[in-house]
Structures are given as C-alpha cells and as structure tokens.
C-alpha cells in the first residue's frame, strides 16, 4: 500500500462557488423545468401550452445564467478580477481564468439561441425532459471547457454527450430520430471507451490526472519505465486523439455525423454543431497543449509521429472528404453535416497551428474566433433547417426555393451566413480561416515550409465548398417559390438568423473586437493555472504538499526535479 499523504482537499471557498454559479444555476434550472413539467403541467394542459410555458421558463433560466456569466466578468464582482486571474478552483479541477469566464459566456449564449429555436415548434411530447437535458448538456459543456483535470473532463464530457444522445432521440414519432440516437450512442460510447483507455495510459505513465502535472511529468520524461516501452505513449496519444476526433467529427471518426445531423431534431443538431463542437475543440486544445504538449512532435518517447503530423493529415482528409461528400447531398441538414466535417478540418488546421506557431496564444485566439463565429453561423443555418421542418415538414434544399422573394430578410441573413461559411471576405468566416491559416504559416523554422501544403489544401477546399453552398444560394434566389413556402417565420428562427448574420458581418468588418478578448482567453487557456491563493499549503510546484513522498520499492525511484514554472510555457 502506498503511503497515504495528507488529504489536501479543501472545502471550496464562497468565491469558488460564486464563480461556478452559472453552471449551478443551469443544473438547478434543469431540475426545476423537469419538476414543473412532471408535477404541474403534464396531463393538465395541452401539449402546445405546456411547451410554451416550459420553453419560456427555460429561456428565462438560460438568460439568467447568461446574465450571471456576464456579470462575473465585471471587475469587482469576484474578489479577484477573473480576466486577469489564472488560478485553479475546486482543488485544481476547474480553471478560474479569462478563458473559462469568456468561453462560458459564449457557450451559454449558444444555449440561449438553441432554446429560442426549440420553442419554434413542438417536436416532442417530452418537453420537460427536453429542456432539462439541454441545460444539463450545457452544464457538461461548460465544465468541459473549464476542466483542468482528466476525471472532471471525462465526467463533463460524458454528461454532455449522454444528454445529447437522449436529445437526439426525443423527436416523437420520428424513425430517423431514434435511429440517429442509437447510432450516436454506439459510436459515441465506443469513442469514449477508446478515449478513456488512452487516459488510463496517460495516467499510468505520469501518475497524475491533472493536465498541468501531466504536462510537467512528460516534459521531464518522468514516465514510468518498464511497462512496455515507448509504444505505450504513442498508443495513449492515438487513443486520446481518437476520442477527440469523434467528438469534433473529423475523418475517420465521422461516420455518425451525417446520420445524427439529419435524424436529430434541428435545434438539437444546431446544439451538436455549435455547442458540442465548441466545447470539444477547446477541451482538445487544452489537453493537447497543457498535458500532451511534449507529444506534439516525436521526441523519441513516441513510437508514432507527434500529434502535429497526425492532426495535419486528419485535417487535410477531413476537409477534402467533407467537401466532396457534401457536393452530392440534396438534404439540407445532411449537407450541413458534411460541411461540418469539412469545417472540423479547417479547425484542425488551427489546432495544428497552435502546436507549431511561434505565437501560440494568438493562434489560439484565431481558433477561438473561428469557433465562435462558426458556431453562430451554424446556429443560423440550422435555424433555417428548423424552420423548414416546422413550416414545410421537410428538409431538402429544394424546399428553400424562392425564399429570397417570399421572405427577403431571413433569406438575406441565410445568404450572408452561407457566404461566411464559404469564407468570402469581409465576413467573419473569412477572417477566421485566414487567421488560422496565417498562424499555421507563422511557424518558425521548418514548420512553416512543412505546413504550406496544408494551407494550400485548405484554400483549394474552400473553393470546392463554394460549389455546394452556392447551390443553396441558387435555391434561395434563382428558383421560383413553391406553394408551401414562407407561411410563417417563428420569431425564434428570425432572432437566431438576425443575430448570427449581424455578428458575422460585424465581427468580419471589425475582427479585432472579438479577437482581442479571445486572444486574452488564449493566453490563459495555454498557461497552467496556479492554485487558488487562499492560504493553503502549497509548494513551488503549485501542488499541494503531501506529507511523505510516496515510496514504492517495486518501482524505480525517479528523481523529482523541480518543475518549471508555469509561465515558462
């Protein structure tokens, strides 16, 4: 039995609870909505009335959480200004920094729009469960962004994904919805298992689950010797990448994407494409940079190339596959699913750029910028899909025919979003791509030469993508409207579209407005936080001191070198 060190856990301070208040509120609000449905409304009111009240309650809750999250940014609300802080909360499981604070605002913002979208029509009898699960998946999402530690990360990720499995299958009476949910669950849990097995190896090799400590252990090569040689590191890396690859829908882990995007109710698809992808990419960046940064290139500890090379190849394949497969699609949601695979490819170029760029925080800022603007654009496009499902009862591209003449404002907004997805200047999608690609080229040394091919592939892919996005534009403006189109446009759809379009144009014309704060978030995302300065016994490693150094005669004693300070990264 290893010597038992002093138990370092400390009951979180009030400021820590306060920092977590948006998440706690959402978790609570999920229960509240569920209880409201089950105890008060169900069997007493009509489904439509019930849906309306539950939707409104949820919207209020989400807006309150958004208000809290924004309020936390205000200087003076917390004891420490969160935007300049770089600490870890809850015994080192949650990061208290600009990245957490800003990105949770974005995440909750997505949730607000998704709830607005869900209120446009009643697609499920399980209204209470639907909104509760939306809240809980948002809780998982935000904790995933904030996690500083593998256990928290895994549980948060599973909270998010399991909630989304159910959400996918909630559409009443839809064959496709249940099929999509089952497929999502099977692929998803298999990917989680792969991911977890990878994590177990990372834990075994380093003896810790904290991202920063894993990073330090790997830097100092403090890996456990004698358990199968170096190929275990390579295996662990591949498994972790497989897990993330599934979450972000990159080839070859993309098979679930088209079916789930097509089968899930449109607001849920919007939530998967914006929120889930947003959180997964951020968690991926955190894990790869903070914990597995040393494995970005093969330093002799991997029996495989580092993740920079692996991700470059995945990026190139994902965007090429996604774009080519999208060319042939007739179903609007399915086309967007393939385009989402392609966009994962572009984003992976950004992740690679973070790994190689000489300005990592700026590269991170660029990826975050792309994630935010892409998330908004996707929400807007899926809002149209939601409207199609509601108004026309179908989701073919042809159903959009003539929308430009019947409903000029939503059609114009959709056109802007599609142009931004192609990457036409001066819209936000263009700047996002441009900034990421420029950072990929910004690598010092030979990296720049090596990644030029990737940027060239990405740019040519943008040209290909124009082909299928323009097909939608053609439907909007070049076709005669069908009889059914444009009967009504629910305000949830209009709001989402207008907000997304305005943000796309605004952040396109003035990218710095979004880039500056996100660049700040990038800094804190890439630096491992310090333990909260609440008077705990800490040593210079930033780790709570244990009473005795663990001894284990069965193992080689590894000398403990003083860890480099976090800011050296």
């Amino acid at each position: 039995m290893p010597t038992v060190p002093v138990i370092p856990s400390v009951w979180p301070s009030s400021s820590e609870w306060f920092f977590l208040s948006p998440v706690l509120l959402m978790a609570f609000w999920g229960v509240l909505v569920l209880m409201l449905d089950v105890l008060v409304l169900r069997n007493r009111t009509l489904l439509s009335t019930r849906a309306k009240w539950l939707g409104l309650t949820s919207l209020v809750g989400a807006l309150a959480a958004l208000g809290l999250a924004v309020g936390l940014l205000w200087p003076g609300v917390l004891a420490t200004d969160v935007l300049s802080a770089n600490e870890e909360f809850f015994n080192g499981t949650i990061a208290f920094d600009a990245a957490s604070a800003l990105l949770q605002v974005v995440g909750i913002g997505f949730l607000v729009l998704v709830i607005g979208l869900s209120m446009t029509w009643v697609f499920t009898n399980e209204q209470g469960e639907y909104y509760a699960l939306l809240f809980w998946s948002a809780v998982g999402m935000i904790l995933m962004i904030e996690a500083e530690e593998f256990m928290t990360l895994f549980v948060a990720l599973e909270t998010m994904t399991i909630s989304i499995y159910i959400l996918t299958g909630l559409e009443t009476g839809s064959k496709r919805s249940s099929e999509a949910a089952l497929k999502y669950l099977i692929y998803g849990s298999a990917a989680s298992a792969l991911f977890l097995f990878g994590l177990s190896w990372v834990y075994g090799l380093t003896g810790t689950t904290r991202l920063a400590a894993v990073g330090r252990a790997l830097v100092e090569s403090r890996t456990v010797e004698g358990i199968g040689g170096q190929w275990t590191s390579g295996l662990a890396l591949l498994l972790v990448l497989a897990g993330f690859g599934f979450k972000v829908a990159s080839v070859p882990f993309h098979q679930w994407t088209p079916d789930v995007y097509e089968g899930a109710p449109a607001p849920v698809t919007a939530w998967i494409a914006s929120g889930s992808k947003f959180a997964s990419f951020i968690a991926m960046i955190k894990v790869l940079m903070l914990a597995l940064g040393t494995w970005s290139v093969d330093t002799g500890h991997l029996q495989s190339p580092g993740w920079v090379v692996i991700l470059s190849i995945l990026a190139a394949v994902s965007m090429t596959y996604g774009n080519l497969a999208a060319l042939g699609q007739q179903n609007f949601k399915r086309m967007l699913a393939y385009s989402s695979i392609a966009h994962s490819g572009y984003l992976l170029v950004g992740v690679v750029a973070i790994g190689v760029s000489s300005q990592r925080t700026e590269a991170t800022g660029a990826v975050l910028y792309y994630l935010c603007t892409y998330g908004l654009a996707t929400l807007g496009t899926f809002a149209v899909a939601a409207w199609l499902a509601h108004d026309v009862g179908s989701d073919q591209i042809d159903d959009l025919n003539g929308l430009g003449f019947r409903r000029p404002v939503p059609a114009f907004c959709l056109a802007i979003l599609l142009l931004s997805l192609i990457g036409v200047p001066p819209l936000a999608g263009f700047f996002g791509k441009m900034l990421m690609f420029m950072e990929a080229l910004n690598a010092g040394g030979n990296g720049g030469i090596a990644l030029t091919w990737l940027v060239v592939v990405a740019l040519l892919n943008s040209v290909v993508s124009a082909f299928y996005y323009v097909r939608v534009l053609k439907a909007l403006y070049l076709r005669q409207p069908g009889p059914a189109i444009g009967k009504s446009f629910p305000s949830g759809v209009i709001w989402t579209l207008v907000i997304a379009a305005v943000a796309t144009v605004g952040f396109g014309l003035n990218p710095t407005a979004l880039l500056d704060p996100l660049g700040g978030a990038g800094i804190s995302l890439l630096t491992s936080p310090e333990p909260a300065s609440s008077g705990r016994p800490v040593d210079s490693n930033g780790i709570t001191q244990s009473a005795t150094v663990p001894e284990n005669p069965a193992q080689t004693q590894v000398p403990v070198a003083p860890a480099p300070s976090a800011s050296a990264r």
Partner: protein
Amino acid sequence: MSQDVPLNWYLIVAACVFVIGLFGVMTRRNPIAVLMSIELMLNASNLNILAFWRLGTPNPGEAPLTGVVFTALVIAVAAAEVAVGIALILVCYRVWKSADVDRYDSMLG
C-alpha cells in the same frame, strides 16, 4: 508488496479485455452485444487505472485516492451510458421489430 502480481500482468489482461471489446464493437450487429463490448472496453480502462494507482508511481503530491475515484466515476458513467443505451435500443426495437444495427436504415448516404 513484492508478493503482488506485477503491474505488467494487469496491463496485459486489461489490454486483452480492451481488444476483445473493440473486436466485439466492430463485428457484432446486435446492439446489446455492442453495448456489452463497450462495457468490456470501459472496464479494461478501469482495470488499467486501478493497477496503475495501486502499483504505479504516483506523481509527487498527487491526491491519494485518484485511481479509486476515477474508477468510481467511470463505473457511474458506464452505468448511465448503458441505461440510455438500453432505452434507445428498446425504442428502435419497437420501430423496426429487430435488434440488428444493419437494419436501421432510414437514412442513407
């Protein structure tokens, strides 16, 4: 301590279980069997984590119960996953009257 089963043995068993699970996920067509295989994979990870916690070198300053807590959390997550999985399989079974993932084909492409 020295009488303990060596760490490598645990790891080899875990790897075998994991590979069996992976093989099952890829070859079985019955969704229940697939779920069981996924359980195998998750439990292989649990075995790994516990073995590492018990016999590996902890990082200096690491909390004492990391491995146990991690495993407990994984067990809870796995249970949730299975619960949801069985529910979804039932839904699909009612629609298709079949427990074969290849039959579920309302979407193509």
